[in-house]
C-alpha cells in the first residue's frame, strides 16, 4: 500500500485550472520529487497533500487519511517544511523546538535535533539572529520535531548558495536513511536527481513524465552529433542520414537515434571526400535536456 495515493487530482481556481488530473503513488520510505518550472502546480499539489487546500476533484490519500479533513490525527504524523514560513523572531532556537515539539504526541529530543541540523552554537540564540541558511535548517528541524512518518519539503534549497545547498542535500539524504517517506518539490533538476528515488515532472498542471532519474534519462533516446562544417562543402553535400540535421553558422548538429550507424556513415563520407570533421563529438542527452524538452512539450501542449 502506498504512503501517498493520488488519483485524478484536479484543482481549479476561479479561472485557472492549476492541476489538471494527476495521479501518482509514493511507497513508504520512498523519496519522491515533484519537479517542474514555477507555476507548474507543484506547490498547489503539495498544499493539497498537506491539507492546506481543498481539491476540486479526484481523490487523495496520505497515510490512510484524507488530508483535507484529517485534522489533528493526520497532522500529528506528517512534518511540513513550507517554502516560506514564519517563526517568532523573539524565540530562541531551542524554545521553538520545545514549543512546537510539545504539540505532537511523539516528539524528538530538542538537543538531538539541534545536533542533527548543526545548530549547536545557536541553540540559545534568538531566531532573528540566524542567517537564511540557519533559518532553513531550523525549519527542517521543526519539520522533524514530531517524528513524522512523512515529510513534505517544498523547495527546500531555493535561494541557497551552492555550498549551503550541498549541506542541505546531505542533511536530507541522511533523513532518507531513517526510512522516512519524503515528498519534495523543486525546480532544480540536479536536486531531484540527487535526492529522489522517483521523479514526476509536472508541467502546466499535468504530469508529463515519471520514473527514476535513470529511466527519465534513458527514455530520451536521441543523441546529438556535432561538428564544424568543412569550408569546402555546403550543407547539401552532407550524406543523408535519416536524422534531423540542423546547421547553425558552421556548426552542424544531428539528432540521432542510432549514433553508431550515423557516425559510421559520416566519417566514411568525410574520408572519401578528403575533408576532416573538426570538433566532432557525440553527446548523450543529460537529464537536463530531457527535462527541458519534456517541460517545453508540456507547455506547448495546451
Amino acid at each position: 500500500m502506498g504512503a501517498v495515493v493520488v488519483t485524478d487530482l484536479t484543482k481549479r481556481y476561479e479561472h485557472v485550472e492549476a492541476i489538471r488530473g494527476i495521479s501518482f503513488e509514493v511507497a513508504p520510505g520512498e523519496v519522491f520529487a515533484l519537479l517542474g518550472p514555477n507555476g507548474a502546480g507543484k506547490t498547489t499539489t503539495v498544499e493539497i497533500l498537506e491539507g492546506y487546500r481543498a481539491r476540486s476533484g479526484g481523490s487523495v490519500e496520505v497515510l490512510g487519511f484524507d488530508p483535507w479533513d484529517g485534522g489533528t490525527p493526520y497532522r500529528d504524523r506528517v512534518g511540513i517544511v513550507l517554502q516560506e514560513s514564519g517563526l517568532e523572531a523573539a524565540m530562541t532556537v531551542s524554545e521553538a523546538l520545545e514549543l512546537y515539539g510539545g504539540m505532537y504526541s511523539n516528539r524528538r529530543d530538542t538537543k538531538e535535533l539541534i545536533e542533527l541540523v548543526g545548530l549547536e552554537d545557536k541553540a540559545s540564540e534568538r531566531i532573528r539572529t540566524l542567517s537564511g541558511g540557519q533559518r532553513r535548517r531550523l525549519d527542517l528541524a521543526l519539520g522533524l520535531v514530531g517524528d513524522p512518518d512523512l515529510i513534505f519539503l517544498d523547495e527546500p534549497t531555493t535561494g541557497f548558495d551552492p555550498s549551503a545547498r550541498r549541506r542541505a542535500w546531505e542533511l536530507i539524504k541522511d533523513l532518507t536513511s531513517l526510512g522516512k517517506t519524503i515528498i519534495l518539490t523543486t525546480h532544480y533538476l540536479d536536486e531531484a536527481q540527487y535526492l529522489a528515488d522517483r521523479i514526476a515532472v509536472l508541467s502546466a498542471g499535468k504530469i508529463v513524465a515519471e520514473g527514476t532519474p535513470s529511466e527519465l534519462g534513458a527514455n530520451a533516446g536521441e543523441s546529438t552529433i556535432t561538428f564544424l562544417l568543412p569550408g569546402s562543402v555546403g550543407r547539401g553535400d552532407l550524406p543523408s542520414l535519416g536524422s534531423t540535421v540542423d546547421v547553425e553558422g558552421a556548426t552542424v548538429s544531428i539528432s540521432s537515434a542510432d549514433p553508431t550507424q550515423d557516425l559510421h556513415l559520416l566519417t566514411n563520407w568525410a574520408v572519401d571526400r578528403g575533408v576532416s570533421l573538426e570538433q566532432i563529438q557525440v553527446r548523450r542527452p543529460t537529464l537536463e535536456d530531457v527535462y527541458l524538452e519534456i517541460v517545453d512539450e508540456g507547455g506547448n501542449g495546451q
Binding site: E50, P73, R75, S85, G86, E88, M91, G102, M103
Partner: protein, 254 residues
C-alpha cells in the same frame, strides 16, 4: 482534555514571553495608558468631586482603555502580523488545535490586561488615593471579564476582516481612538450632542467604561449592574465571534 489544558497553558506562556520581548508592544499596551494617567493628574490633579479626588473616576476609565489595548489592539495587530509572517500557516500545519492557539493569544491578552489594570490601581492608590470599593468587587470583576472577552473577540474579528497585516494597526487605532473619545474615557460626554451620545451608545466601549467606573463610584449607594450595558457588550462579543470564526484565514494574503 487534560493535555489540551497543558497545551493551552504553554501557548499562553509562549505568547506572554513574546509580548515581553517585543518592547514596542509592551510600551503601547502598558506604558502609554500609565502616561495618560499621569498626564490626567497633572491637568485635573487638584480637582475633587464632593470631596472625592477626581482620580477616583478617571483612573478606572483609563484602566478600561488599557484593558482594551491589551486585548483588542494587541490581538488584532499581533494576530494579523503573525499571519503575514506565515506563523499562523505554520501552526495550522501542526496538530495543535486552532482554538488552543487562539486561546493562547486571548489568555495572554487577558493576563496582560489584568497586570496593566492592577498596576494602574496601585499607582492610583499610592499617588492619588484612589479607593477600591470592596463591596463592589464582584461586579467589578464580572464587568472586567465580560469587557475583555468582548474586546478580545472584537480584535480577532478585525484581524479576520482586514487581511493585510500592514493595514490592521491603522484600522485598529482608527476604531479604538475615536471610540475612546466618544465613550467618556478621556472626558465626560454627558454634554456632547445627542447624536454623538447615540453613536457612543452603539459601540461597546462606553458601556464597558460606564460600568467599570460605576463600580468605583462611592456616591452610587446601590450600584446596579446595568443589564442594558451588559447586553450591548455581549451582543458585540457574540457578533465578533461569529465574524471571527466565519472569516478568519490562517494564510498570508498574497
Amino acid at each position: 482534555m487534560n493535555s489540551s489544558l497543558v497545551l493551552l497553558w504553554r501557548q499562553i506562556r509562549h505568547q506572554n514571553a513574546m509580548f515581553w520581548r517585543t518592547p514596542v508592544a509592551a510600551f503601547f499596551t502598558l506604558a502609554l495608558p500609565l502616561m495618560f494617567l499621569l498626564l490626567f493628574n497633572v491637568i485635573f490633579g487638584g480637582e475633587e468631586v464632593n470631596g472625592t479626588p477626581f482620580a477616583q473616576f478617571f483612573t478606572p476609565a483609563i484602566a478600561t482603555f488599557s484593558a482594551v489595548s491589551a486585548t483588542f489592539t494587541n490581538l488584532a495587530i499581533g494576530t494579523a502580523l503573525s499571519r503575514d509572517l506565515g506563523i499562523l500557516k505554520r501552526v495550522r500545519g501542526t496538530p495543535l488545535p486552532p482554538w488552543i492557539y487562539m486561546g493562547g493569544r486571548i489568555g495572554s491578552g487577558v493576563w496582560i490586561a489584568s497586570i496593566s489594570v492592577v498596576i494602574m490601581f496601585m499607582l492610583g492608590w499610592l499617588i492619588y488615593d484612589v479607593q477600591i470599593l470592596w463591596e463592589n468587587i464582584a461586579v467589578m470583576v464580572l464587568v472586567f471579564v465580560i469587557g475583555i472577552a468582548t474586546f478580545s473577540a472584537f480584535g480577532l474579528a478585525v484581524a479576520a476582516v482586514v487581511r493585510s497585516g500592514e493595514a490592521v494597526p491603522a484600522v485598529a487605532q482608527a476604531i479604538i481612538l475615536p471610540m475612546a473619545f466618544i465613550s467618556g474615557i478621556f472626558f465626560d460626554t454627558t454634554n456632547s450632542p445627542a447624536w454623538l451620545e447615540l453613536v457612543g451608545n452603539i459601540f461597546p466601549l462606553k458601556h464597558f467604561a460606564a460600568l467599570f467606573v460605576d463600580s468605583f463610584n462611592p456616591f452610587l449607594t446601590d450600584p446596579v449592574l446595568g443589564w442594558n450595558h451588559i447586553g450591548v457588550m455581549i451582543a458585540w462579543g457574540i457578533a465578533s465571534l461569529i465574524v471571527a470564526t466565519r472569516f478568519f484565514i490562517w494564510e498570508p494574503n498574497n
